[in-house]
């Protein structure tokens, strides 16, 4: 199958691959997986006191579209608030990367990873306030 130029670019030069300190109270982690293709995606975001995402890293095992989707969202996330991040839709990711219908689920995975990471940081913040 032919990948779009944008997918190839992110696949060959993935941005922000790696990890952040998961024990940092400002870091939220989102892990998701899709059994249909065996893809696993880990997304970590570092959020400052104003609720703005300062850094984002990912690690994805999967096809080119899954890697490109996660690489793209790490670029998008930096500088956004967690509310803005939560509002990102998979259709925006799929459109930006020109994903074919059979690869739409890769963008779903990326959207769900963002939502999981935001939920994790919110849970950490709530735990801190409760303490």
């Amino acid at each position: 199958m032919a990948y779009s130029d944008k997918v190839l670019d992110h696949y060959e030069n993935p941005r922000n691959v790696g990890s952040l300190d998961k024990n940092d109270p400002q870091v939220g982690t989102g892990m998701v997986g899709a059994p249909a293709c065996g893809d696993v995606m880990k997304l970590m975001i570092k959020v400052n006191d104003n609720g703005v995402i300062e850094d984002a890293k990912f690690k994805t095992y999967g096809c080119g579209s899954a890697i490109a989707s996660s690489s793209l969202v790490t670029e998008w996330l930096k500088g956004r608030t967690i509310e803005e991040a939560y509002a990102i839709k998979n259709s925006e990711i799929a459109e930006e990367l020109a994903l074919p219908p059979v690869k739409i689920h890769c963008s779903v995975l990326a959207e769900d990873a963002i939502k999981a990471a935001v939920a994790d940081i919110k849970a950490k913040q709530a735990a801190k306030e409760a303490a």
């Binding site: 892990m31 998701v32 997986g33 899709a34 059994p35 249909a36 293709c37 065996g38 696993v40 880990k42 690690k59 095992y61 739409i104 689920h105 779903v108 995975l109 769900d112 990873a113 999981a116």
Partner: protein
């Protein structure tokens, strides 16, 4: 409607008699072999061909434990690999990551011994899940939990396939 289990004369459950699966499949294959229908009518030829095709599908789905589990769920209207469902237990996903990392490292280092060790660890993991699925499908009939375990098994199958692919490339 006839399903894969009834087609191969098996009880519709996770624990199946593999020998019966094999022999019932062979019986259908030989009974529907084109050589037997050389002088048959076009309708009979078509019918026997369709039977042979269905038996092939049934056999390949049922002999694989992950395929069988997925099919049992389908018969109950559950799609185990729905693309909208990406939530998996965090510890399982962490383990997936660890397996994938180890596979990648062993592949890069062409470490055949570690690839084989990883393959046998994963097979042990798959076996444990299959044992649990017998309980979940056939005894307690806990479909929600069976769906979760089936998803894990499908994941493990994918990693195993990738490990074997890596081993083949080195050899």
């Amino acid at each position: 409607m006839q399903n894969y289990f009834s087609l191969l004369h098996l009880t519709q459950q996770f624990a199946i008699d593999i020998k019966a699966l094999e022999s019932n499949y062979r019986k259908i294959q030989s009974a529907s072999h084109p050589d037997r229908f050389v002088s048959a009518s076009p309708a009979e030829k078509l019918q026997s061909m369709q039977l042979a095709t269905s038996a092939n599908e049934a056999y390949s789905v049922l002999k694989n434990p992950a395929g069988r589990a997925k099919y049992l769920l389908e018969l109950r209207g559950i799609n185990a690999i729905a693309e909208t469902n990406t939530a998996m237990p965090a510890d399982f996903l962490m383990q997936q990551m660890a397996w994938r990392e180890r596979l990648e490292e062993a592949k890069a280092a062409k470490d055949l011994a570690d690839l084989e060790a990883l393959a046998s660890e994963m097979q042990a993991e798959a076996k444990a899940i299959q044992d649990e699925l017998i309980d979940l499908f056939d005894v307690t009939k806990n479909l929600a939990k069976a769906t979760d375990e089936t998803r894990k098994l499908i994941f493990i199958d994918k990693v195993c396939a990738d490990i074997h692919h890596a081993i083949e490339q080195i050899e």
